[in-house]
C-alpha cells in the first residue's frame, strides 16, 4: 500500500507548498509512490492518520501548539518543511522585539483579541523526524527525502557550508566582487543557487552547527559593512539560532 501523505501549513507564506506544486515534471512520479490525503493548498479531502506529515510554517500561537500536537499524534513520520518550520525563519525576527509592541503594530487596539507566542520551530514543540531546509524549501531536497522515505532509507543530511557547492561550481567568490555573503556559515545543499546567479547568500537554510559567530562578524565587517548591519544580516533567517 502506498504511504499516506499529508501537508499542513502554520505561520508562513505557503510558498513551500506552492514550490511543491511547481515540481510539474516529477509530480506524476511522486504520485506513483504516495497517496496524498490532505493538502489544503491543492485539494479538499481530509484523513485521520498519516504515514508522513509535512509541516510548513512556524508555531506562533496557542492554537498552533494544539494543532501540531494533534497532527504529531496521528503521524508516523513528521517532516519540517522550509525555513519557518525548521527554525522559525523570518517570522522569528518578531522574537527580537518586545511582544507587546509587536502585537500593537499588527493589531492596533484589538491586540488583546489575538493570543500570540514567540515564533518557534516545529521541533521546539514536537518531535521532528526530518527537515527540508530553505526559503522556499529546496525542491531537490524534498524529492531526495521523499524517495528515501519511500525506499525506507535514512534521508541524506547535508551539513556543509554553501561555500562548498559554490567552490565546486567554480564560482568567483562574492567577497572578491565586493559583496558580503553568509555562505561560509550557512548550511548548503542548495547547489549555491544564489551565489551562482550573483546574489549573496542570506542564510535561508539555517546555520551550521556551532558556527564561528565572532569570526564571521569579523569577516563581514572587514569587507565593508558595519557591525550592526552584519548582525542584522545574520539574524534575518536565523533569529532563533544565532547566539551573540
Amino acid at each position: 500500500m502506498k504511504p499516506k501523505v499529508a501537508f499542513f501549513d502554520f505561520t508562513s507564506c505557503e510558498g513551500c507548498q506552492l514550490n511543491k506544486l511547481n515540481l510539474e515534471n516529477d509530480l506524476l512520479d511522486i504520485l506513483k509512490h504516495v497517496e496524498i490525503v490532505e493538502f489544503r493548498e491543492a485539494m479538499d479531502d481530509k484523513a485521520d492518520a498519516y504515514d508522513i506529515a509535512f509541516i510548513e510554517g512556524s508555531i506562533s500561537s496557542p492554537s498552533c501548539v494544539e494543532r501540531i500536537h494533534d497532527i504529531r499524534r496521528r503521524s508516523k513520520i513528521l517532516v519540517a518543511l522550509g525555513s519557518c518550520a525548521v527554525n522559525g525563519g523570518v517570522n522569528a525576527m518578531k522574537n527580537l522585539q518586545p511582544i507587546d509592541e509587536v502585537r500593537e503594530t499588527v493589531y492596533g487596539e484589538d491586540k488583546y483579541l489575538f493570543a500570540t507566542l514567540p515564533a518557534m520551530s516545529v521541533s521546539s514543540i514536537v518531535k521532528v523526524d526530518y527537515e527540508v531546509r530553505g526559503c522556499p524549501m529546496t525542491q531537490q531536497d524534498f524529492l531526495k527525502l521523499l524517495v528515501s522515505l519511500v525506499l525506507g532509507k535514512q534521508a541524506p543530511r547535508y551539513d556543509s557550508p554553501v561555500c562548498v557547492e559554490c567552490k565546486l561550481s567554480e564560482n568567483e567568490c562574492l567577497y572578491n566582487r565586493g559583496m558580503v555573503c553568509l555562505g561560509p556559515i550557512t548550511r548548503g545543499g542548495c547547489d549555491a543557487i544564489c551565489p551562482s546567479f550573483g546574489q549573496f547568500c542570506t542564510g535561508c537554510r539555517g546555520l551550521l552547527d556551532e558556527p564561528n559567530y565572532i569570526g564571521m562578524l569579523e569577516v563581514m565587517t572587514n569587507h565593508g559593512i558595519s557591525l550592526d548591519e552584519a548582525k542584522k544580516r545574520m539574524l534575518l533567517f536565523n533569529s532563533n539560532e544565532v547566539q551573540l
Partner: protein, 344 residues
C-alpha cells in the same frame, strides 16, 4: 634544450596548431577579477598573463563531481562509468600547477592506479608558461621556481614582449611538427621576477618545526578567525579527498553513485557512525590541514605536499595566510630553542 623565440601575436596560431593533437585547455577570464581553465573555443580569448585560476588544473583529472556508476534497484545491477582516453593539451600552466599534478600522480597512481584518473591523465600534454608572482604566490619557498620545467613538454618563458619556447620532451617536439613560426634563439635569463611572500626557513627544515608544533598556541589563534568554509581545501591543487554518495531518482528505480571533492576543514569530515568526531574543533582541523601539507606525506616522500600556489590564502574569506601560520610556528620554535639554550 632547444630554444626558439615566439612572437606574442603568434601564440593564438600555436594554440590552434596544438588543437590538431586534441582538445586544448587553457586559462580564460572568469567573472570580474578571476580566471579559470576552460576548453579553448577561440584561441584569441586565452589569457597567458594571469595570477591563478579559481580551481586548480586538478579539476581536469579529478573532477569536482563525477559519476562513478549507474545502478538499478529493479534488478540490482550496476554499470560503472567509463572514462575514455582522450588526447588533450593543457596550455599556459604555471610551474607550481605542474608540480601539483606530479604530486597528484603519486597520490592517485602509485600502488593500484585509480582508473578514471589514469585514463584522463594518459594522453595529456603540458605546455608551461612563466608568471609574475603576486602577493600570494610562495612556490619558491617550497622548492618550485618560476622556470621549473619538470613535467612540461613545452615551456613558454615571457621575455619582454614576446616568448621564448623551450622544447623539453620528445612529445613536445612532436606537438610542434609542422608549426613554422619559430625562430631559433639563445636562451635569455629573465631577471626581476621576485616572490613577495616567503617562508622564513628552507622547506627541508620545516618537518622539524612541525615535529614540535603539534601543541602550539598558533592553532588556537587561527581557529579564532577561521569560519570553517572549506575553501582552502577545495581550491588546493594537491588535496584529493572525496566523498561518495548514492542518489536515487524520483522513479525510485534507477540511480547513480557520485563522488565529490571533500574538505578536511569541514566539521563533519572526521565524523563517524555514532556521532564521534575525531577532529571536532577548528583547531584540530587547521592543524591537520597543515600537517598533511608539511609533515605526514613529506616524511614519506621528502617533498612538501604544498606547491605554493597561494589559493588557500587568496580565496580565504577570513584572510588566513598559510605562510603567516608557518612563519608564526617558526618564530615560536625559535623562541623555545632560545629558552632551552639560555637554561643550559
Amino acid at each position: 634544450m632547444e630554444c626558439y623565440s615566439l612572437k606574442q601575436s603568434d601564440v593564438p596560431a600555436l594554440i590552434d596548431h596544438l588543437g590538431a593533437y586534441g582538445e586544448v585547455i587553457a586559462p580564460h577570464r572568469k567573472g570580474d577579477v578571476s580566471y579559470s581553465f576552460e576548453p579553448v573555443k577561440d584561441s584569441e580569448k586565452v589569457v597567458l598573463e594571469y595570477n591563478r585560476t579559481l580551481l586548480p588544473l586538478k579539476k581536469c583529472f579529478l573532477p569536482p563531481t563525477e559519476k562513478l556508476m549507474d545502478f538499478s534497484l529493479k534488478d540490482m545491477s550496476y554499470k560503472p562509468t567509463e572514462v575514455p582516453i582522450k588526447p588533450a593539451v593543457y596550455f599556459g600552466i604555471h610551474s607550481y600547477e605542474m608540480q601539483s599534478i606530479l604530486r597528484l600522480d603519486h597520490s592517485m597512481l602509485s600502488g593500484k592506479a585509480e582508473s578514471n584518473y589514469f585514463n584522463r591523465r594518459k594522453k595529456s600534454r603540458f605546455i608551461g608558461v612563466s608568471f609574475s608572482p603576486d602577493e600570494y604566490h610562495f612556490s619558491e619557498s617550497v622548492g618550485i621556481s618560476i622556470e621549473e620545467m619538470e613535467g612540461f613538454d613545452l615551456y613558454l618563458n615571457k621575455v619582454s614582449d614576446d616568448y621564448q619556447l623551450y622544447i623539453i620532451s620528445d612529445k613536445g617536439k612532436d606537438l610542434l611538427k609542422g608549426f613554422d613560426k619559430l625562430i631559433q634563439a639563445e636562451p635569455i635569463h629573465v631577471e626581476g621576477r621576485e616572490f613577495n611572500k616567503k617562508i622564513r626557513y628552507h622547506y627541508n627544515r620545516l618537518p622539524r618545526v612541525f615535529q614540535y608544533a603539534y601543541h602550539s598556541k598558533v592553532w588556537a589563534e587561527v581557529a579564532e578567525r577561521c569560519v570553517g568554509c572549506g575553501s582552502c581545501n577545495l581550491t588546493c591543487p594537491t588535496c584529493f579527498c572525496f566523498d561518495v554518495n548514492d542518489q536515487v531518482e524520483v522513479t525510485a528505480e534507477d540511480g547513480m553513485r557520485r563522488r565529490s571533492w571533500d574538505s578536511c576543514m569541514l566539521s563533519t569530515f572526521a565524523e563517524v557512525a555514532g556521532g564521534e568526531n575525531f577532529r571536532e574543533h577548528t583547531l584540530n582541523r587547521t592543524r591537520h590541514r597543515l600537517y598533511r601539507k608539511f609533515k605526514y606525506i613529506t616524511d614519506e616522500e621528502g617533498l612538501p605536499w604544498c606547491v605554493g600556489c597561494g589559493r588557500c590564502t587568496a580565496f580565504c574569506p577570513a584572510d588566513i595566510s598559510m605562510v603567516d601560520i608557518i612563519n608564526d610556528l617558526i618564530r615560536e620554535d625559535e623562541k623555545a630553542q632560545f629558552h632551552k639554550t639560555v637554561r643550559v
